[in-house]
Every structure is written in structure tokens, then in C-alpha cells.
Symmetry: C2
Subunit: 349 residues, 2 copies
DNA sequence: CTGAAAGCGCTAACAC
DNA sequence: GTGTTAGCGCTTTCAG
């Protein structure tokens, strides 16, 4: 009840018969000029009193909060998404190594309307910001300016000149297409995520580039929005095969939708990969445990998060002026893809 | 480059020809006595200058940080776990509604050794703490004391008198056992998580209580540790059936392991649920999308997180002295459980 | 109705 | 080597 008052630097000074300055100098190791006797006296008083400097006061003084913000979009239980979770884990770990702590915010409409994203900096909540799950509609990102270090994580924003660290999704699309084409598939469906996401376009561009090279057409009827969810993926796969039963392979913009697609295909009696191959993108942990284990494009999500955090720290300490990084991706073959059984034009290897 | 200095309350005072006090009074709506002319003058200056009060200074003054901490254990990419993610989403959402922000910390050995969990309060990082994924080994939880509001989320700690909000795992165990027994299963395997987790014991107690009532024995050979992971669940299921091929049903301490178990069973050629039924616990989102969709115990994780946060806020504002809450759970039947095909003693309904 | 001044806990010029 | 003092940006008594 009687919350006894926290001990302050003043108490330490009194207890050790030294001045505030002396105590401060000792504590901050700026004690080149402090006699070791005094140092001992101060340190022992600190110990005895259990003194710990107030971060609030230090921050006010230094004008640095020691916090990094993570801003995620408003989705159903955003943090329960393994993709965001992986990024957050990476960021938290990296930040902690540098004595920074992480603040979590969700950019819902009300939040943005009230300019809470700007308050983050203006009111000194954070020293830098990492934006996850960004789309080309997120025009508020243009609001950030000078002295407000912001990095877009694993994405970019069209027409807004922001720093970013991302995976090479164009290449991811190419790899997926190449894999499917080389297996002999000619009738391919495509489940995409939100088209306002830049990497969604990247992926598609890479994918179509290769299909074209293989002279395979991808008519509009072969595209379906999977809403970046399992449910959406399932529905999309079903719709795709209903519309064109000759489809023998499906590329899904992320693993979540791919896993949903597999479940949807089974529901309508299609065997994976015997009748329909499915390839995802991301290589999340559970891709290994679905049935069949998912062939997918491995994207180094954790590394991207860690790197973005490191770069943000560099931006903050002005070790860096600008950040534009793109990470390599690779193919992880598991069991959800195979050569088509009835390769009409195909030449199964 | 030339980071122009942030505008402070002083600037507003000057600009509006008022004193600091007046500005502060206006801004905090303690302006019962302020003439509306003055208020307008101040407000317009605020607007013109784009002034926003520094939270750092306010916090120093009020001795409240306005932050809530979330402490999670060190696991592989802790935040990429949907269970933690769901809790975090709930907590963040609730906190935001009350103008609190969330700080994320991971309690690894080094962190605890350096007493960073105590620093959280001592150095005024946070006003209250929510601990996730707690085990009975987490003795550091006993370190918290007076004036340091802490709530254990969806767990308890033996021998440490802490506030908590949890689901009724004893009842969850009972429900799972009842479901399996009523389907006619008599040879049942049990995949458990870390035994040092209190709710793990709760679950088992409830489960065994019902089995006993049905006169079914659960020999030590029918227990296997699934490590709370998919891999572990798969390995455990395989081990269980290798050791006793007569097992027709498996209860898994969480959905993650259950999903792993299903994948493991398929790997050794067992059909689910025809040959082996699997029931999980949690009802995470993807339980609906595995094959077959998982029968599981629904635990109101999101509600628990939200409630824990609300209660913590009450603790902080002294609206509440202590918190002990247990939430109801229920059965969600999907397709991973069925009556045993060869019910030796069974009486499939 | 408004303002001067103290103080939250700390750091850092600048004396001595 | 050590201490005095100003100040970070705000809130809040207390005068007037």
C-alpha cells in the first residue's frame, strides 16, 4: 500500500557523502578522474540502497527513449501470424542485444486518423520505427520525415521513398515458375494475396516472366485472391479447379494460403500432388508439418527482421544515411509438387 | 541533418503570450478557470506550432511510464508461436484502448541473471507486467513485490502467490477424456508438454480422473513428451504406437503437438481418425485447416489475454487488490476423432 | 483568471 | 578529484 518511494541518485549521494555529479560519473564510468576510494564508497552505497537510475530521467535528459517501435497492420489478431511473429522475434532479439526495447503498435484506421504514428516520434515514445505488413495504400508512411528513422520490413512502398530491407520476391516468382514448368506443368493456377502489396506484384512479375519464356499463358481466370488466409486459400483453390479442371498446379503467394489450398483441394477430392501440385512461398515452420509437406520458396524472414533492426539502429546513430537491401531466396522442395500425371503438352523429366 | 529542435511547451507559451501554467492547464483540460479567449489563443498556438507534449517529461513528472510489459520465455522464435501471438494480440488491443503501450521482453537466462525483470519496474520502464508461458521453475517470479503489479497469464506458479487469469485445464482434461471414453476408446496415449508447467499437470489430473472413472488404466508407457512442438508431437505419436500398437486414441496437451502427431501417424501409415483418433487442446486457428480438421478443447485464449490486461490495469490503479480468475473451456468436435474400429472392450455409441 | 517557482531524477558544463 | 549549477519538458502548488 504505502509504496515506499524509489531511491534516487540524491539518496546515494547523501549515503556516500559525495555529490550528485560524483555519483553520476561513477555510474557512467566517466570516472577517469575519480579516486578509487570514492568510487568504492559510491558503489557500496548504490549496492546498499539498491539504487537503479531512472530511465525516465535519463531519457528526458538524453532525448532518447531507448525504444524501437514495431507497427503492424490491423488484421485478425495480427500477432498470432507466424510471419509477423518471426519478424518480431528477430527484431526483438536484435534490439535486446543493443539494449533497446520494443514497443508494439497496431495501425488501425482510428490510430492513423489521430496521427498516432507521428506521435510515436513527436512525443518521444521511440527512436526509430519498423513497419511490417505494409501496402501501397499505406500513404501515411509518407508522413515521416527528417529525424524520424523508419524502415519498411520485407516490403517496399510505391512512390514513397522509404528505407527497406526485403526478400527478392521477383526471383521467388521466377523460381516457383521454373520449378513448376520444369516438372512439366502447363495449366497453372495462381492464388495471390492483397494486390496492393508491392511484393505481391513482384512475385507475380517474376512468375509471369518465366511462364512467358515457357510459352505458357496465364489467363485472368487462372487468378484468384486468397486473401492471405487459410480460408481464402482453400476457397481460391476450389474456385480455380471448378473453373478450369485441367489445372495441374497452383502457385500460392504465401504458405498460409497454400496450406489452405491443399485442404481445399482435398475437400473436393483432389489428391496433392498426384492430381494437383501446390507450391507456396515463405517457408514458414508448419510447412514442414502439413500433409503433404509443402514445397515452397524459402525466404529468410528471420534474417530480414534482424537486418532491418540493425540497419535501423545504424540510421538512428547516423552510421548510415539510407538503407535498401534485398535478400536472396531459394527453393525448398518437399512433397506437394510432382510432375503432372496427364501431361498433355508436358514433358515430365 | 539539422534535426530542428522539437517544440516545447515554452514555445507555445511564448507564441500565445501565456505562461507555462496556463498552457499546461488548457492542454490538460484543467481549464475550468481559464477564459475562453485565452484558451483559444493557446490552442491556436499549439496548432500553429504543431506542439505535442513530451511523454518523457510527463512520465518523469507523473512517475508513470504508461507502458505495460509482456515477458515471454525464451523459445525458438517465441513470437512466432500462435498461442503467444493470440495472447499478445489480445493484450495489445486492450492496452491500446486504455492508452497504454506494450513493451516486449524475452526472459532468457542472461536476462534473468542480470535481474532485468526487476529493472523493468525499478528503472520505471513499465507500470505493470504480464508473464506468458510461465513454468514452476520460474522462481524469479517470486522476486516481484509491493508496488510491482504482475499477472501470470493462462497459468499459475506453484508455491508463488501471484495473481493470474487462466483457463480451466483440469476441466479441459476431463472433457477430452470423456469424449474419448464415450467414443469407446480404451487404449489411450497421452502426449504431454513440459511437466514443469502447472497447467500441464492440471490437464493430466482432469484427464486421469475421468479415465479412472471409466476404469481405464494409463500406464507410464502410454505417456510421451511432445516438447510442445510439432516435431515433438510427431515423434511422440510414433513412439507411442510403436510401443503399444493397440492404442486407438491420443490426447495431446496442445494443438501444435496434436498436429505434429497427426503428421507422424500418417508417416507410419496410420489413418486418422479411422485407426487412431487424435484430440488436441487450445483450438488454435489452424486446427481447422489440418487434415483431418482437429477435434480439440476450445480454450478462450484471446479472452484470457484481454481479461488479464484489464485486471492488470485495475491492479495498477488500485481498483483491485488481487486477481484469481479461471475461465471455462469447451469441446470442439471436428474430424480427428471417431469411435475405434476394433473396439475390444469398447461400446461405440 | 493567470503566473512564478519548485520539483520529478538525471547529466554535463564549468568552477574550484 | 570533486562540487555547484543549469537544464531536459512537464505539472502543480501557491500567490496574486
Amino acid at each position: 500500500m504505502a509504496k515506499r518511494k524509489a531511491v534516487s541518485i540524491k539518496d546515494v549521494a547523501r549515503e556516500s557523502n559525495a555529490s550528485l555529479t560524483t555519483v553520476s560519473l561513477v555510474l557512467n564510468n566517466r570516472d577517469g578522474r575519480i579516486s578509487s576510494a570514492t568510487r568504492e564508497r559510491v558503489l557500496s552505497a548504490v549496492e546498499r540502497l539498491g539504487y537503479r537510475p531512472s530511465r525516465l530521467a535519463q531519457s528526458l535528459q538524453s532525448q532518447r527513449s531507448g525504444f524501437l517501435g514495431i507497427l503492424v497492420p490491423q488484421l485478425r489478431h495480427a500477432f498470432a501470424d507466424v510471419y509477423f511473429g518471426e519478424l518480431i522475434s528477430a527484431i526483438q532479439e536484435t534490439a535486446a542485444e543493443h539494449d533497446y526495447k520494443i514497443i508494439l503498435d497496431v495501425a488501425n484506421p482510428r490510430y492513423l486518423e489521430r496521427n498516432h504514428h507521428l506521435e510515436l516520434f513527436r512525443r518521444h515514445y521511440i527512436d526509430g520505427l519498423l513497419c511490417l505488413g505494409v501496402t501501397n495504400n499505406d500513404t501515411y508512411l509518407a508522413d515521416f520525415g527528417e529525424g524520424q528513422p523508419v524502415i519498411v520490413v520485407n516490403n517496399r512502398v510505391q512512390d514513397v521513398d522509404l528505407d527497406f530491407v526485403q526478400c527478392n520476391y521477383v526471383e521467388a516468382g521466377r523460381i516457383a515458375a521454373t520449378h513448376l514448368c520444369e516438372l512439366g506443368h502447363r495449366h497453372i493456377g495462381y492464388i495471390h494475396g492483397a494486390t496492393e502489396v508491392q511484393t505481391t506484384s513482384d512475385l507475380r512479375h517474376g512468375f509471369e516472366e518465366i511462364l512467358q519464356r515457357f510459352d505458357i499463358s496465364l489467363p485472368p481466370s487462372h487468378f484468384e485472391d486468397g486473401l492471405y488466409t487459410e480460408e481464402g486459400g482453400a476457397d481460391a483453390a476450389i474456385a480455380l479447379l471448378k473453373r478450369d479442371p485441367s489445372i495441374t498446379a497452383i502457385f500460392s503467394g504465401n504458405d498460409k494460403m497454400a496450406i489452405g489450398a491443399i485442404s481445399g483441394l482435398k475437400r473436393i477430392g483432389k489428391r496433392v500432388p498426384e492430381e494437383v501440385s501446390v507450391i507456396g512461398c515463405d517457408d514458414v515452420h508448419q510447412s514442414e508439418f502439413c500433409d503433404p509437406p509443402l514445397t515452397t520458396i524459402h525466404t529468410p524472414i528471420f534474417d530480414v527482421g534482424a537486418r532491418a533492426c540493425t540497419m535501423l539502429l545504424d540510421l538512428i546513430s547516423s552510421k548510415q544515411e539510407t538503407v535498401r537491401e534485398t535478400k536472396d531466396v531459394s527453393l525448398t522442395v518437399r512433397n506437394s509438387t510432382a510432375a503432372p500425371q496427364t501431361g498433355r503438352n508436358g514433358s515430365p523429366q
